[in-house]
């Protein structure tokens, strides 16, 4: 798990939405997959497909040491009324500074309060927490009384 890779992902998505690209590919890693699934569930991306550098796979392809280098994850981006659905995506924990939240802080954030330097949740905004190798949305994390690393926020 690398926050640098996550930062690259966020930057890439922002760049793509600025020029209204329909779908993009990102490196195929466990964190990327978890993040992408989270975005898909929240409705920020329209589709999520495994693929290669050429394009998304029409048929299921097993990942082998031969093709691992070419494996990519393809995300379908969403737009509405000439505006991207992902208005802003940014990291909370940076590679140089990790933000580990206690379960109290998670609940506070989920209820719209500001926690430390993290700005309060805006309407239609999501924050993702990484707790024990799994990525949860903040509301779900608060419900389950989890604590973890604040990864990124999307709106």
């Amino acid at each position: 798990m690398s926050l640098v890779h996550l930062a690259n992902l966020c930057a890439h998505l922002k760049n793509c939405t600025n020029v209204n690209i329909a779908s993009t590919s990102v490196p195929f890693t466990r964190l990327h997959l978890q993040v992408a699934v989270g975005l898909y569930k929240e409705g920020f991306i329209s589709s999520l497909q495994k693929g290669s550098t050429e394009g998304p796979d029409l048929k299921a392809v097993d990942v082998t040491p031969d093709n691992i280098s070419t494996r990519r994850l393809w995300l379908g981006l969403k737009y509405r009324n000439n505006q991207p659905v992902i208005r802003d995506i940014s990291l909370i924990s940076k590679p140089g500074r990790k933000v580990n939240l206690t379960n109290e802080e998670v609940k506070a954030l989920a209820s719209g309060l500001a926690v430390r330097f993290i700005k309060p949740l805006q309407p239609a905004e999501c924050i993702f927490i990484k707790s024990k190798e799994e990525v949860f949305e903040i509301q779900e994390a608060a419900k389950r009384n989890l604590e973890g690393l604040a990864l990124y926020r999307v709106k």
Partner: protein, 353 residues
């Protein structure tokens, strides 16, 4: 006795007619002469012209007094008219004070007293009323008693001019804007208007400075609609202000608010060199913002807001930037729709039924 005095007078038709009717009435009221000995009222010479009657010395004294100032014809007409009035009525009228109106019931049930009878009444002709002639001021129709202490004012050119000048600033603007925008004129008249920036700018020419007046006005209905307008004029600040008001009403736009009191969430907006960091506030918080933003919020009906303006605080840019940011707010329904989610207002759901 009086019959001898009922002689046709020189000229006047009116008095002739009066005399004809009054003579008839006098004949009718003749038996009541003897009853009216107890007339204590000085002014009433009712049926008491009998010079032989010694008890009416007051009356005769008064009559002699009047004779000095009135012509005999006029005296006669006074006597005739007074003969028709009951002294009791006069007394009652006097008791009720100077504002009292006498109530005389129409005797002729068939006649409609609103119309002028061409035979018995002469038409009233005020002089100089012909077409193309300078008209007299309207003769006031005062129904009350003669109040010489009252001053009568007539509309002359100056007052008309002044009224017209002031009309351009409010009423005329409203009517013309109503036609232009399609909004109700009364709505336009009732808008909250606030000139935010009023300054004097100079145009530098080879021959010197030419002053120009710049006004930025915000207009709003204090309920979710605002408009910013700029007005410039060389004539003066007032003309510029009027122009700004006009332009502001033309630019009226609706803006979304949360609970009709604050903005939707927070926003960070950059407009030219102005960086706005606006935060929504809870109810009762008030407007703790830049003075120009405060004025716009007042016009818009935003009651709670907190925020800071960074880098440039140029008033014009701050105002324009803030209004732009307000219009670019996105509602939760819109955001939910773009994400494909259903939004539910828990308060409504909980408190429904």
């Amino acid at each position: 006795m009086l019959k001898s005095s009922f002689q046709p007078l020189v000229g006047s038709n009116i008095i002739k007619r009066c005399l004809n009717t009054s003579a008839r009435l006098y004949e009718q009221s003749k038996p009541s002469i003897s009853k009216s000995d107890k007339a204590t009222d000085k002014t009433s010479t009712n049926n008491s012209i009998n010079a032989n009657d010694g008890t009416n010395s007051k009356v005769t004294k008064h009559l002699d007094f009047l004779k000095k100032y009135y012509t005999p014809e006029l005296l006669q007409s006074i006597q005739i008219s007074e003969s028709l009035i009951d002294p009791k009525d006069v007394l009652e009228l006097k008791k009720r004070g100077f504002r009292a109106n006498s109530k005389v019931a129409p005797t002729d049930k068939l006649s409609d007293y609103s119309r002028i009878d061409p035979i018995s009444q002469e038409p009233i002709l005020y002089p100089n009323q012909g077409v193309g002639r300078t008209p007299y001021p309207k003769i006031p129709d005062i129904q009350g008693p003669d109040r010489t202490d009252l001053k009568l004012r007539f509309k002359d050119e100056n007052t008309l001019k002044r009224k017209e000048a002031s009309a351009t600033s409010t009423r005329k603007i409203a009517d013309e804007l109503a036609k232009l925008t399609g909004l109700d004129a009364a709505y336009i008249r009732g808008l909250y208007v606030r000139p935010i920036i009023m300054k004097r700018v100079s145009l530098k020419t080879s021959k010197g400075n030419i002053p120009n007046f710049f006004v930025l006005t915000v207009v709003g209905d204090r309920n979710g609609t605002i408009g910013l307008g700029i007005g410039k004029s060389r004539d003066g600040i007032r003309t510029a202000a009027v122009k700004a008001h006009w332009n502001a009403v033309k630019n009226l736009t609706p803006i979304p608010r949360y609970e009709d009191r604050t903005i939707l969430g927070d926003f960070e907006y950059k407009y030219h060199a102005v960086k706005l960091f606006m935060r929504s506030a809870p109810a009762g918080f008030g407007l703790r913002v830049n003075r120009n933003i405060f004025e716009i919020c007042q016009a818009a009906g935003i009651k709670d807001l907190r925020g800071k303006v960074y880098k440039s605080r140029n008033p014009l840019l701050v105002c324009q930037g803030f209004v732009e940011a307000l219009t670019k707010q996105r509602s939760i329904e819109d955001l939910a729709a773009s994400r494909g989610k259903k939004i539910v207002d828990l308060r409504k759901v909980y408190y429904s039924h």
